[in-house]
């Protein structure tokens, strides 16, 4: 069934149409939320918040063709809101296994899961969100910047330095010397 028709039916209150749309997206949303939040339960909360809000606000969506992008934006906002609320409540200490960096072999296009997991955890959630939106959900950077409400230059800068952190951890001692994972200034 054409997604646009489903969106229009759901906008008119057809919950079955919404269930079909959500069913087609929920695995992707859940995976993206787990990548951004690195926490199963928080990811569940974020997906729930995003889908409930999507159903509630769907009649106000002006362009049915933008449903997927809109849903992604709801999800990433839900993820970052959860992180902010969680930071206010408690500072959690996460125990990670002892680890010795080693040079990874990408000749077969394979990245060690544990190394990647550790590298992602080293990033702030805002930065993880950019990596996940761009490299996992395949969104162009201008769209990522618009969704996160930041200038394109800032998105580029954050992605560049997030990738530097990921490389330095996963590749093992091959950081990009022209960058760092420092908070950057925003272009005026």
């Amino acid at each position: 069934v054409d997604q646009r028709l489903l969106v229009e039916r759901a906008q008119r209150g057809d919950h079955d149409a919404f269930a079909t749309l959500a069913g087609g997206a929920v695995a992707r949303l859940d995976a993206a939320a787990r990548l951004i939040l690195r926490d199963q339960e928080l990811a569940r909360d974020a997906v729930q918040e995003a889908l409930v809000r999507a159903w509630r606000d769907l009649p106000t969506l002006r362009d049915a063709e933008r449903f997927d992008a809109w849903l992604h934006r709801l999800l990433v906002n839900a993820c970052l809101d959860l992180v902010r609320r969680r930071k206010r409540r408690v500072v959690e200490v996460e125990l990670t296994p002892l680890f010795t960096p080693s040079a990874a072999d990408f000749s077969g296009g394979v990245v060690d899961r544990d190394l990647l997991d550790r590298a992602l955890r080293a990033l702030e959630p805002d930065w993880r969100a950019i990596v996940v939106l761009h490299y996992y959900l395949g969104m162009p950077l201008p769209e990522v910047a618009a969704d996160l409400g930041i200038p394109l230059g800032t998105a580029k800068s954050r992605l560049h330095r997030a990738m530097s952190v990921l490389r330095s951890t996963v590749v093992g001692g091959v950081p990009d010397e022209t960058s760092s994972a420092l908070p950057e200034g925003r272009p005026a």
Binding site: W55, G109, D147, S180, A188
Partner: protein, 442 residues
Amino acid sequence: MTPIDRFERALPTALTDLADPRTPDYFTDILGLTARTRQRPAWASLERWLPMADTISRSTSVPRLPWRSLGVALILLALLIALVAVFVGSRQHRLPEPFGPAANGLVAYANGGDIYTVDPATGVASAVVTGSELDARPTFSLDGSKLAFLRQAAGPRVDLFDVFVAGSDGTDARVVSTDPVPPDAVIMWTPKADSLLVAADGRLVRYGVTDAPQRQVIAENVLVRSGELRPPDAAQILYEPDATPGVDLWIMDIDGSNARPLLPASALTGSQYDLQIVRWSPDGTMIAFTCGAEAAPTTSHVCLVNADGSGRRWLTDESPQVFESDFVWSPDSRSIAFNRWATGGLQAPQACGDGGGIFPIGVASVADGTVRDVGAPPVCDGALFDWSPDGTTILSLPPRLFGSTDPTAAPARPVAIDLVTGTSVELPWEVTSDITWQRVAP
């Protein structure tokens, strides 16, 4: 192909492998929840600003009023309106100077696709530009008399906007741009509020705002940042060649002529932080800009240079390991406020996660470079802030609201920092975008 290239190419697959996407077992629960949730009607946003119930109840109660009382009330109301009009009219003739200290007026912001103003003293907010269109990024003119803002342009692309101008109360809104601009277009008012300079996609354009739409392309292939129009007469503007941003700083007359380098590449360090932000002092005698340091190439500092390009220096003598950015001049040109982080190599984001690494906003004396902390440390990503026109207060916001045109952005309460006492207090009103502070005559 280097290992780095291979890593980037392998990343999408690696992320999919790590996430292991599958339909989660809680999906049925969510559908149960949505089934019990009522949808917002499409016109819900309009309903907020059209008090239908009040209008209806008022009209039905009118016949019950005694006609004599009604007549007296109407006469008093007319007198009151006339007095207010005379008072407002007299005030409108008193406009502040476009640069330098002024009295504090309203604060404008965008929320849910509409433009609001709020009295920062009372917290009383008013919607001044409403409707079904997506409006964002309000900017008061330097004399406080007008308001420019972006409105999502018609057409299939949601990331293009028209530039609108209205009175400071949102009335008489009209489009002034002839070509749509991206959401991060730089918009600057000229001192007399008779035109707007719009920089986007490598082009600097002037739009007249007083008569019929006028468009003048000033320069092509230039990168112009906000704060680069020279006070007090806006006769010159700074820019960088669009092909090489952050490498060298140029200046030209406002008609596009007499272009010449002001800070050549040899005067900078070649750092990625060079020229990320460039701002004239309000008195037009100095330029502040971000710069790298040769001794610590991964940090940013606030640098100063005289208007003629001479006397380049660091603003402060803080450690090279302190990252300075996001600076704002005080209205009297005597101080500069900025964000500061302690740099910590590649582990900085982790330190930032629990609030570490960020310092309170610093206020530095331009005369001697001494720095003092003001307010509580902002969130780990720093703060977005603006100086009040009277110079007594800084309003601080989360940086995620910088340039935001997202009508669904989570709201945030501004933090007011008293620059006399250094104390900060969260204000009882919320914004969902960057703010602009109206300058009014003292």
